[in-house]
């Protein structure tokens, strides 16, 4: 369908644009660490100069130096897992996510993922009458979530210790399925195991809720994802 192609392109383009904006924003972090030293106050010498004041007004500013050091607040990664699409079986889902960590607890995260929906029980029982076209079976979603980390540690042995986070997320986005795009609310929880400072493995469970009338009646559907991700901090 023409509309379908149009909307797909549009989503792809808008995602590219969003990624570009985020990348541009990240590239500007170092700019913020600009050097502000050598800002000596060259206050004008006391005019006239006939009398030496008892207090010297030319106080030298303390020379404080800002510096460029590798800041790792951005987390980027890929995930794969299982999505249970209400009325349409369970399927493999794969996607990308990028997060910005605001402080030690809060982060903002964007995810984009794709899956291909299976058959409804009606299709199976009726002997293969297709309910959706192949194109309409393509399931894609994006969401932007806020997350809260509960920091912790995992002790494997006395000396083998990993830093971890248990986190909760809440977000909104859209789901493109069955020829329609729907506003989608998502909520979930996960566990992040930091193998090193910059490499983590995450297990994530999320519920994606939206209103759908694909099977004829309007209802709110719950699509759960169980995913495993590898992410890098940089």
């Amino acid at each position: 369908m023409f509309e379908r192609v149009l909307s797909n392109n549009f989503l792809a383009r808008s995602f590219t644009a969003a990624a570009l904006i985020v990348a541009l924003a990240i590239s500007c972090i170092p700019v913020a660490y600009s050097n502000t030293n050598n800002a000596q106050t060259n206050a004008s010498q006391s005019s006239g100069g006939s009398q030496q004041p008892s207090i010297d007004p030319n106080v030298e500013r303390r020379d404080i130096r800002e510096f460029d050091i590798d800041s790792e607040n951005v987390e980027i990664g890929a995930f794969v897992g299982i999505i249970t699409i209400e009325d349409f079986e369970s399927d493999v889902v794969a996607g990308l996510r990028i997060a910005y960590h605001i402080n030690e607890n809060l982060f903002i995260e964007g995810s984009y993922a794709q899956a291909t929906a299976g058959q409804t029980s009606f299709e199976v029982l009726s002997g293969g009458v297709p309910f959706l076209t192949d194109e309409q079976r393509e399931y894609t979603y994006f969401d932007v979530s806020g997350g809260y980390n509960f920091n912790g540690e995992l002790f494997i042995t006395d000396s083998l210790v990993f830093n971890t986070d248990f986190y909760l997320t809440l977000g909104a986005g859209s789901t493109d399925f069955g020829g329609d795009e729907r506003f989608t609310v998502s909520a979930g929880a996960g566990y992040r195991l930091l193998l090193t400072d910059y490499l983590s493995v995450r297990f994530d469970v999320r519920d994606h809720v939206f209103n759908s009338d694909i099977i004829g009646v309007e209802k709110s559907v719950h699509n759960l994802t169980f995913t495993l991700s590898t992410t890098f901090f940089f």
Partner: protein, 252 residues
């Protein structure tokens, strides 16, 4: 199209790579009686080591206001751990210059270059989400590129706009702002209503915005805004849309 996509990908990649290139390590000396070293980059992580005045540490990297350090300990060994920003200000370079990190304070807000904003709310009773990228031109003026998605029961609405925003009191933590912009509204009826014969409709629009921003904490602003969109339709009457949104920004 493919060429453009490849180019975009290359651009993103080169930007990402360039951020790796600035990695830098610094040797600093502790100037206060002592600093605490945590096992991880958060206050909840336990303190496992203390570095005394006069000892040297190497700064390796930072994460959300925490700095990873390496320090020598007895027996020619080294430890790695995390120190706070306050601890960092208790150190100095070899020449005695104190260190200070740029950490998203209100002063840093004044010299920011970019903002990324995410907002949610309603557009004529339809749930709407808005993402905005901002380039800060002067203390008062900034330019927004904004994208809104409002998925209703009868149609999908996507709106992009560019606008100029004037923050009226940039020196106040709490300040109102005004915005003026233009863009395009793309409306597509729902798939189950396609029989109506309608197709994707593109409508140019003008918009005005009035809102408030509040500097909340470290690098984060909170914003609430009202936008009035005037759609320049082909019909005799122009259509006005009202959008109420609330959200947060991160600045760089």
């Amino acid at each position: 199209m493919r060429l453009i996509r490849n180019y975009t990908f290359g651009l993103i990649l080169s930007i990402l790579l360039s951020t790796f290139a600035i990695a830098d390590e610094l040797l600093v000396t502790v100037t206060q009686p002592f600093i605490n070293v945590h096992t991880g980059p958060a206050s909840e992580y336990p303190i496992f080591h203390v570095i005394a005045k006069g000892e040297q540490v190497t700064l390796l990297k930072s994460r959300t206001g925490w700095f990873k350090i390496q320090a020598p300990i007895a027996g020619n060994r080294t430890i790695e751990g995390w120190i706070t920003e306050q601890s960092l200000s208790a150190t100095a370079l070899d020449d005695g210059t104190p260190l200070q990190a740029s950490s998203g304070t209100f002063d840093d807000y004044q010299s920011r270059n970019w903002e990324v904003t995410l907002m949610g709310g309603v557009l004529d009773n339809i749930t709407a989400m808005t993402a905005t990228g901002t380039w800060v031109w002067s203390r008062n003026l900034s330019f927004d590129a904004s994208y809104t998605q409002a998925l209703g029961d009868f149609s999908d609405n996507k709106i992009w706009s560019v606008r100029m925003r004037n923050t009226i009191f940039p020196n106040w933590r709490f300040s109102p702002y005004l915005a003026l912009g233009t863009g395009e509204i793309r409306t597509q009826p729902r798939a189950n209503l396609v029989q109506s014969g309608d197709d994707v409709r593109l409508t140019p629009h003008y918009e005005i915005g009035i809102g408030v921003r509040y500097y909340w904490a470290k690098s984060v602003l909170v914003k609430a805004e009202y936008r009035a969109l005037l759609a320049l339709t082909d019909r005799d009457e122009q259509e006005r849309l009202d959008q109420w949104i609330i959200g947060a920004s991160v600045f760089f």
